[in-house]
Structure formats: structure tokens, C-alpha cells
């Protein structure tokens, strides 16, 4: 459940002048079930394109992505996503946002509320079920977005810099909560970030992409015990190692 095989994944765009722009090129990666993967790279390196292709929101130019042996060709209920920007539907109450996916499956109101409630509990926002998103803080909105993505019980959860717009304290708190959710729900998580600190804190393995076109430059296992302590010497050591790795010429040069 939740294992992902990525082979020779390339996404290119044809510019107006006819030249071809490669966003990602020849990515090969095996992601194991229940694994927490962080994709790290500079802005514009194709991290988001990579994630969108797994989501089925973007189509690969060549290569393929197999989820449990089945190729991903479009949005798929086995894959959930949390976007960087606030994506909650502002016209729906929190509970109706979380229950949206179940509603699309034709499940009746009572049943879908009953099944959504545990996910709202999981992110600690049960008492806000009747609020509208505009009444919530940025951190709370992203928590609801996580609950909404999980409510349809996907096997893989994709996260595209979900905490990028939050202040540092909230971000650290949400990272901690996300790890707890991950341990409870046993999802495979692919988390895109440009923060080394965030990646080292969260990931089992860290995939470093090169600048455009995005290729896999380095795959770094993070062997720190969980729960991790950001201020420990070991953490700092791993962090330094990763910083050195991403500073290698082969990870920087196009």
C-alpha cells in the first residue's frame, strides 16, 4: 500500500518561440510505503511540477509513475494533496470542507460528517467545525486542508510547501503535528520544501533536486531517531552535511 515507482519522469514545455524548456528531466525514484520523503531544491527547480505530476494535475512528457503497479494518469482518490496557498473553499464551513471528498462520492450528510469528524479531531480543530475558513488563522486553515486531504483516505499525501506562508513558530508546531499524524495514519508522505531545517526535521529520506531542469542530484537518508530535536548536536551535524551536499557543484550547476 502506498508504494510509488517513478521511472524516467520528464516534463517539458514548448515555449512560444519553439524552444523546449525542461522543468524536470529523467527522474527515477522508488518511494516505499509509509515513508516520509522530502523533496528539496531551490525555487524554480521543478519541485512543484514533480509533485503535480504525481498528483495527476500535470502530465509527464515521458516516463511514468506507478502507484501499486498502476500508472497515474489523472487526479486519483488514492493521492491527496495539500497546497502551498490556502485552498479551502471559503464558502463552505470547515466540516463541509473536510467532508467535500466524501460528498463527491455520493455519501449522505450524516455519514460523511461522522467519517470526517475524526480527521478534524486529528488536527485538533473539532470545535471549529461550524466556522468558515475566513474565521481561521493561516495555521488552522492548513490543518483543515490536511484533514480534508486525509478524509478520503488516500494512500499517498502530497504536500507542496504547505507551511511556507506561516510564521516560524506556527511552522515548527505544524511540523511536529504532521509527524504525529503521519505516525497515526501510516500514510506515505511526499513533502516539497526549500528549507533544509524542515526537511531534516521531517524526512526519512531527502531527495535533492538540481536547478532547472530538475534532476535527482542526491538522495540522503536521515538516520536521526524520532522524535527529533532541532537543537541537538546530531541534528546540527546532519543539517550541516545536507547543506554541504546541496552546495556541491553537481547540485547547483545546470
Amino acid at each position: 500500500m502506498g508504494g510509488l515507482v517513478i521511472r524516467d519522469l520528464t516534463r517539458s514545455y514548448v515555449r512560444e518561440d519553439g524552444s523546449v524548456l525542461y522543468a524536470i528531466e529523467g527522474i527515477n525514484l522508488d518511494i516505499f510505503q509509509e515513508e516520509f520523503i522530502c523533496v528539496l531544491g531551490p525555487s524554480g527547480c521543478g519541485k512543484t511540477t514533480f509533485l503535480r505530476t504525481i498528483a495527476g494535475l500535470d502530465n509527464a512528457t515521458s516516463g511514468k509513475i506507478l502507484l501499486e503497479g498502476e500508472e497515474i494518469r489523472g487526479p486519483n482518490p488514492k493521492v491527496g494533496i495539500v497546497f502551498q496557498e490556502y485552498s479551502l473553499f471559503p464558502w463552505r464551513k470547515v466540516i463541509d470542507n473536510v467532508a467535500f471528498g466524501l460528498e463527491m462520492q455520493g455519501i449522505g450528510r450524516e455519514e460523511r460528517y461522522r467519517r470526517s469528524q475524526p480527521y478534524l479531531d486529528l488536527v485538533g480543530l473539532s470545535q471549529f467545525s461550524q466556522s468558515y475558513p475566513s474565521e481561521l488563522s493561516g495555521g488552522m486553515r492548513q490543518r483543515v486542508a490536511v484533514a480534508r486531504a486525509l478524509a478520503i483516505e488516500p494512500e499517498i499525501l502530497l504536500m507542496d510547501e504547505p507551511f511556507g506562508a506561516l510564521d516560524a513558530q506556527t511552522r515548527n508546531l505544524l511540523q511536529k503535528e504532521l509527524l504525529e499524524i503521519w505516525q497515526k495514519t501510516k500514510k506515505t508522505i511526499i513533502f516539497v520544501t526549500h528549507s533544509v531545517d524542515e526537511a531534516v526535521y521531517l524526512a526519512d529520506r531527502l531527495v535533492v533536486l538540481t536547478p532547472r531542469p530538475g534532476r535527482v542530484c542526491e538522495i540522503v537518508p536521515i538516520d536521526l531517531d524520532r522524535p527529533r530535536n532541532r537543537t541537538s548536536a546530531e541534528f546540527a551535524q546532519v543539517r550541516r552535511k545536507v547543506l554541504d551536499l546541496i552546495a556541491q557543484p553537481k547540485c547547483i550547476l545546470e
Binding site: P77, Y86, S87, P90, R92, G101, M104, Y132, S134
Partner: protein, 261 residues
């Protein structure tokens, strides 16, 4: 314009201004103009209003005008919203219909009166048609741009949650997301449609109607009654706007409270 949260004294300042204006009007009419035909005084107007209240004509005028307005605005909603949605969602339909709409749109609604009479005769539908022409474009254009302005992330979030087909995306994502702008379009349309009412009733589609009576009393040279109908037209338009705003804000757009709209 009342913006809300006014201080007590500000409110009385406004009332005070209205009283001053009425006194000034009365003084001009009684002391300077001295001719009820050219400028009836507020007292003349009040008397005319009380006289009109004795009959049942006012109620009939209101009813008939509401029918005209209802036909026009109703048709504008039924036609404007679906076309706006189709053009906003499907690029092909947009490219196909846009030139036609851009050619028809600048024609003033009143220029349609001859064809309104030829097509619908001297009927309520005829008046409704003129109002429809005035009301349909604000609704259509606002619906269209409301759909065009949907953040892409809403559509993608919907797709990832199993809302895939166009009709579901329109129903569950695009339409609710565009609703504030559609509502604004309807409000503009209701204002424009109401303004077309007087002209729509001027060519004799009915024996009653606020606009019809305005012309009727003009022909009788009863200018005090003309002013009564002018004021009624203005107040009714204001009432529509107020009801509309209150209703929409409290029933459909509650989610916007707390946001800077």
C-alpha cells in the same frame, strides 16, 4: 451613502440636511416660482400623495410595475447566468459568443422599444423585454468574469477530492466561488432595469404602472403627482437594493463576513 458604524450626531446631520433641503424647496416654490406647474412645493406633493392614497391606483401601479420588472429581471437571470457560466468556463463558447455580445451590448435598451412593440405588442412582456435588455448584460458580464477569476487552486483541490466532471466543477466549485460577483451583477442589473422601467411603460403597454402614471399625470399637467411618482420610483429602487443586499448577504454570502470585500 451610509457606510455603517455612523456616530449618532452624523445621522442627525443627514436628517437635518434633508429638512433644510425641503424648506429650501418649499421657499423656492412658494416665494420665488409661484407656479405649481413649473415647481410644485413639498406641500403640494404631499397633498397629491394623500389624494392618490384614497384610490386604489397606487397599489395597482406598484403591482403592474413589479410584474414588468419581474419579467425583465427574471428573464435576465435565466438567460444571463447560464450564458455567463458557459462563457466563463468554456473557452470555445467564449470565443464564439463574445463578438455577438460585444456588438449587441452597447445598444441602449431604449433603442429596442420599436422591436419590443413589434415582437410582443402592447403587453407586459413588451415592457419586460426592454427591462431585460438593460438587466441581462450586467448579470452576464459579472457571471463571466466571476468564473474567470476563480483561483486555480480551488479547481485543482476539487479535482483531487474527486470532483472531476465539468458540471460538478461548475456546480460545486465555480458557481459558489463566483457567487459574490454574480450577486454584485444582479444588484447592478436590478438598478439598471429599474431605470428602464419608466421608458418601458411610456409607450402604453398598460393602464397602470409607476412609469405609466408618471407620463399620465404629465399629460394632465398635474406636476405635483408627477413628483409623487418620481419619489416612489426612487424609493422603490432603493428598497429593492436594500432588500437584495440584506437577503443575499445573510443567506448566501455569510462566509464572506470577516473578509475585506
Amino acid at each position: 451613502m451610509i457606510i455603517g458604524g455612523k456616530r449618532f450626531s452624523d445621522k442627525w446631520l443627514g436628517v437635518f440636511a434633508v429638512i433644510i433641503a425641503l424648506l429650501f424647496w418649499e421657499a423656492m416654490a412658494v416665494l420665488v416660482v409661484k407656479n405649481v406647474f413649473i415647481l410644485p412645493s413639498p406641500v403640494d406633493v404631499l397633498n397629491a400623495f394623500l389624494n392618490l392614497l384614497k384610490g386604489d391606483t397606487l397599489l395597482k401601479d406598484f403591482t403592474v410595475s413589479l410584474v414588468h420588472f419581474g419579467i425583465g429581471l427574471g428573464a435576465a437571470l435565466i438567460i444571463g447566468i447560464p450564458i455567463g457560466i458557459a462563457m466563463g468556463w468554456y473557452r470555445g463558447i467564449d470565443a464564439f459568443l463574445d463578438p455577438i455580445i460585444e456588438i449587441i451590448r452597447p445598444i441602449p435598451p431604449l433603442a429596442w422599444i420599436p422591436f419590443a412593440i413589434i415582437w410582443f405588442g402592447l403587453t407586459d412582456v413588451s415592457a419586460g423585454f426592454v427591462i431585460f435588455i438593460g438587466a441581462v448584460f450586467p448579470i452576464l458580464i459579472n457571471t463571466y468574469s466571476g468564473l474567470r477569476g476563480i483561483p486555480r487552486v480551488f479547481v485543482e483541490a476539487g479535482k483531487m477530492l474527486g470532483c472531476i466532471r465539468d458540471r460538478d466543477l461548475i456546480r460545486y466549485i465555480a458557481f459558489p466561488s463566483a457567487l459574490p460577483q454574480i450577486a454584485a451583477g444582479i444588484r447592478i442589473a436590478s438598478g439598471v432595469g429599474w431605470m428602464c422601467l419608466v421608458a418601458a411603460e411610456l409607450f402604453g403597454v398598460s393602464k397602470y404602472g409607476l412609469g405609466q402614471k408618471l407620463w399620465h399625470f404629465y399629460n394632465l399637467h398635474q406636476m405635483d403627482s408627477v413628483v409623487v411618482y418620481m419619489i416612489l420610483l426612487g424609493l422603490t429602487g432603493l428598497l429593492f437594493d436594500w432588500i437584495f443586499r440584506y437577503y443575499i448577504d445573510h443567506h448566501f454570502l455569510r462566509w464572506r463576513s470577516g473578509e475585506v470585500a
